[in-house]
Structure formats: C-alpha cells, structure tokens
Amino acid sequence: MTPASAARTATRGGQTAHADWEATRRIPRAAREANAVLAVAARDITSMLKSPSGVITALLMPLLMMGMIGGTLMQNMAGGLGFDFGEFMLVGMLVNMLFMMTTMRMTSLVDDADEAYSAELLVAPVSRYAIVVGKILGSSFMALISCLGVLAVGAVMGITLAPWQLLVFLALAPLLCLSGGALAMIVLGTIKNNTTANAAVMLISMPQMFLAGVIIPISQSSGLLGVLSRAMPMTYCVDLGRAVVYAGRSDYDAVVMFNPAVNLAAIAGITVICLVMGTWLYARSEKNR
C-alpha cells in the first residue's frame, strides 16, 4: 500500500473505504435514483438539441401525418360523422405524437449499445428502472416538440384547442409518454442491433396509428379489426385524451368509446407490465450471456 493510499484509507466495518469517499455521496439513495433519471433524460435531451435534423424531423412529422393524411380525410370523408372531425383528429394526433415519438426515440437505447455508451450506463450504481425511465423521459422531449408541430399544423388548418384543454392534455402527457416508452421496452429489451430495433419499433407503432382511432374513427370496427383495435395500447391513450378534451360536451358519446376509468386502468396496467418486463429483459440480456 502506498503512503498516499494509506493516508486516505480507513476501515469501515471490515470494508475498506476511501476517507473522502462517503463525503462525495451526499444524496440519499432514493434521491439518487431520481437524480439518475434526470441525468439520463438530460443527456438525451442535450444530444437531441445538438442534432437539428432530429428536431426538424420531429416538427415535420405532423405535417405529413396530420396535414396530408388527416387533411385529405377531412376534406373528402368527414361528412356525416356527427362530430367535428378536425378536432377529433387534432386530439388523436397529439396523443399519437406523444406515444409514437416516444416509442420510436426509445431505439436510442440500442444506439447507445451500438456506440458503447450503454456500458457507461450499465456500470453506474443506479437501478435499471432509473435508466429506462430516464430514457423514456428523454425520448418524450422530442414527442413534445412534435406536439408543437401538430398544434402549428392544426392552427394552419383552422383547428385549435382551448387553453384549458391544452393544459389538461399536458397534464396527461407524462402518462402517455411513459406508456409508449414502456411498450417499446418490450421489444427493445432483447434487441442489440439498431436496424432490427428500428424495424421492430415501426412494426409496433404504425399499426396503432390506424387501429387506435388516431385519425380514423374505430367505434364501428368489428370482427378481427375490432379485436385488434382494442388490443392496441394506444387505443386507450387516444380515448382518454378525447375523454378529457370532450368532457361535458354533447358530442362526448359520439367520440369517446370507454369510461375514462377503464382507459386509465388499461393504460396503467399495460404500462406497468411492459415497463417491468421490458426492463427485466433489458437487464437480463446484458448480463446473462
């Protein structure tokens, strides 16, 4: 043992500890987990802000989905629905952007592994849940940027929401993002290759856009399509989003399919199951080879 080492080494309960080691751990464990979530999210957000192409794509995505697909549907097929299709589509697209963009951005977890950064995360003394939830929060930042794009495209198309509706929607946003991110973890938990990860995430995202009632009403869906639409996690997110926006209005029953409590229970259940299973698969696939 060197003199320098001896000077700063102390014995603590039979274990060796650096004299200044404890002093560097000022944050209690629970707060450390929250801090780690924040740090992981902040790293993703900082990276995203330094890549303008990603931000531009997030802003342009609504132009394609809502402006072109939604706009065409609104002009040609929205008559006789019994409700304002524009507003229906706007809420659906907001939920879709939060859910789908978070899901898609979660592939950065695989990108990290590809660029070896995940090694830095995996040896950090924090739980895997902190890493995954941090990743979901970071991913949801781009989803929020996409929502700004949706609102901008909506404004151009003459579709707007009242400030209180936006506030209520904003309050729901973390749950919706968490739900999308957790779903992504189920498929990303074991994937090591980013090409496969992108394909897998597209495979779980795209069908939801059409089957979850984002821009096409699904209340009359029956048979296999009816079953599939109810099996889509985003269906409950979209329906909950509409339930809060349409609350107390005469067209509520024409637009909202389920009781909000059912939606909430379905979202919470799916999110918890996907988050726990996905994180377990992620931690296990890294360590148990």
Partner: protein
C-alpha cells in the same frame, strides 16, 4: 488488505462447449497495480466483465472492496471506475457534459443543466482532474472533435470523478498512437502516485505491464502465473516482460493446459501462492 478477491471463478457462456473461465482465483491488494495478461480468447474480458458487474458468473466468489459482485452489485459499482476497450464517451456532448452526467449517475451532485449552475465543489473537482494533464481548454469541446488520445484522457478523468477504489483498465490504449499512449500512462502513473488508486489492467501491449506490482497471466481460461514482473522474467529467462510473455505462449501453444511447471522447474508452488495472495 485485499480490495479484489476472486475465488474459483467459473464462467460458461450459453451454448458454449467449454467454460471461458475455469476455476480462476487471485487477490489484488489496496493500491496495487495489477496487470492481467493473456492472448485473445484467454478469458481476460470475461473476467473483467464479471468483476465490473456487467456479466454474471456461473460459479465462484468475487468480492470488490468487500462487496459481493452478484448480491451487492450496486455497492461494487459505487467503488469502481472503468475504462472500456471501446471509447464510451457520448460523442455528441462536450467532455464536461459527459463528466457531469457521470458525477450525477454516481450520486455526487444533483443534475444542473449547465456547468456554471453546478456546485463550486464539482467545478473545482473537474478542473483539478483536467489540470493534471493540462486538458482544461478542451473541457467544453464536443467529444467528436477531440483526438483519440484526448478522448481517452477524458475517459480517465470521468472514471476518477467519483474517487473509485479500483480503476479497471480494459485495453485502455487500444487504437492510440505511441505519443498518446505515453501521455496517458504518464497521467495514470501520476494518478496512482497521488491517489494510490488500485489499478487492474488488461492489455495487449505487454510493455505497459512492466511497472506493475503483479502480473497475472491467464491462458485458456486458467491462471497460468501470478507474480511480480521481475519474477516472471527471471523464471522465463527473459530480459523484458514482453519476451517472457511471448516465450511462455510459444512454449504452451499446443498444450492442453498451461504448464509453466514444465517450462520452469521451480515455479508452480510459488505461483499458486502468488495467485492467492498477490
């Protein structure tokens, strides 16, 4: 006092016919410079991955700083710093941003979005670590714009930010030019002298292990030799560690099991002892 204790470590990968690591045992003392050498596929990376909690073991006992790697992995992670074979800095961030996120992940400071908003103690710590190698000017440079050598130095700085007991260096100079290698080792020597940090090194550049307190040679998943470098050179009749290492590997290339006893008549018993109490 032992800071690393490995006893009968075995790792059998799924679908592999033979174990990658077989009944490996050694100890590393506090403040020691321990070099873990071996050819490709010998079991170095497998062993270091288990020691750093990123890979589960099949059997055996591994303790770091008194904590079990399997059941107390978070405590182990708290006490170790790692430089991986591949650079693990986020290339889109600045060097300082990488260090800041690391410090927050290790629970040292609450995250703040800018360097200036971080506590003075953090800024002093980072500037002091960067100052040792004179890289303060590059702290706020995007990692993608730094040379490979500079990136490695910042990885060392980052791994030392949380004052680890043990610094694991998994082929830290891979891909660096001679000058960058030299500079990095100057820095690591300075860190060892100043802080007395225990260093666990794996490398293919055998000359880097000349200054080690103990050299441990692993071959085909088993410890073949564990002793000071001078001892290894003497027993193998070589003037440099590299000659001793190459000589050993050439002599045992076709043997089923590393057999230093056949190569050097008097060595085996003593090597066993060094393996236990290096």
């Amino acid at each position: 006092m032992s800071v690393i204790e490995v006893e009968d470590l075995v790792k059998q990968y799924k679908r592999a016919k033979k174990p990658a690591v077989r009944s490996v045992s050694f100890e590393v003392q506090e403040g020691e410079f321990f070099a873990f050498l071996g050819p490709n596929g010998a079991g170095k990376t497998t062993t270091i991955s288990i020691l750093t909690t990123t890979l589960s073991k099949t059997s055996g006992r591994v303790q770091i700083a008194g904590y079990d790697v399997e059941t107390q992995h978070r405590d182990v992670r708290d006490h170790i710093g790692i430089i991986f074979q591949r650079p693990t800095l986020d290339r889109t961030l600045t060097a300082e941003e990488n260090i800041r996120i690391h410090a927050c992940l290790y629970g040292m400071y609450t995250y703040r979005p800018t360097y200036r908003m971080m506590p003075a103690s953090y800024r002093e710590r980072v500037e002091r670590l960067a100052g040792v190698v004179g890289v303060e000017d590059s702290l706020f440079t995007r990692v993608s714009k730094l040379s490979g050598g500079m990136q490695r130095k910042f990885e060392v700085i980052r791994s030392l930010t949380h004052t680890p007991h043990v610094l694991f260096l998994d082929e830290p100079t891979q891909g660096l030019d001679a000058v960058a290698r030299h500079d990095l080792w100057d820095y690591l020597d300075q860190v060892r002298r100043e802080w007395g940090t225990t260093v666990f090194l794996t490398t293919h550049y055998i000359d880097e292990a000349e200054g080690a307190d103990t050299v441990c040679l692993i071959d085909r998943g088993e410890i073949a030799l564990c002793c000071p470098p001078q001892e290894m050179k003497r027993r193998l009749g070589a003037s440099t560690l590299e000659d001793a290492y190459v000589g050993y590997l050439r002599h045992t290339a076709d043997d089923a099991v590393p057999a230093l006893g056949g190569l050097v008549a008097s060595g085996v018993g003593h090597e066993g002892e060094r393996g236990r109490g290096a």
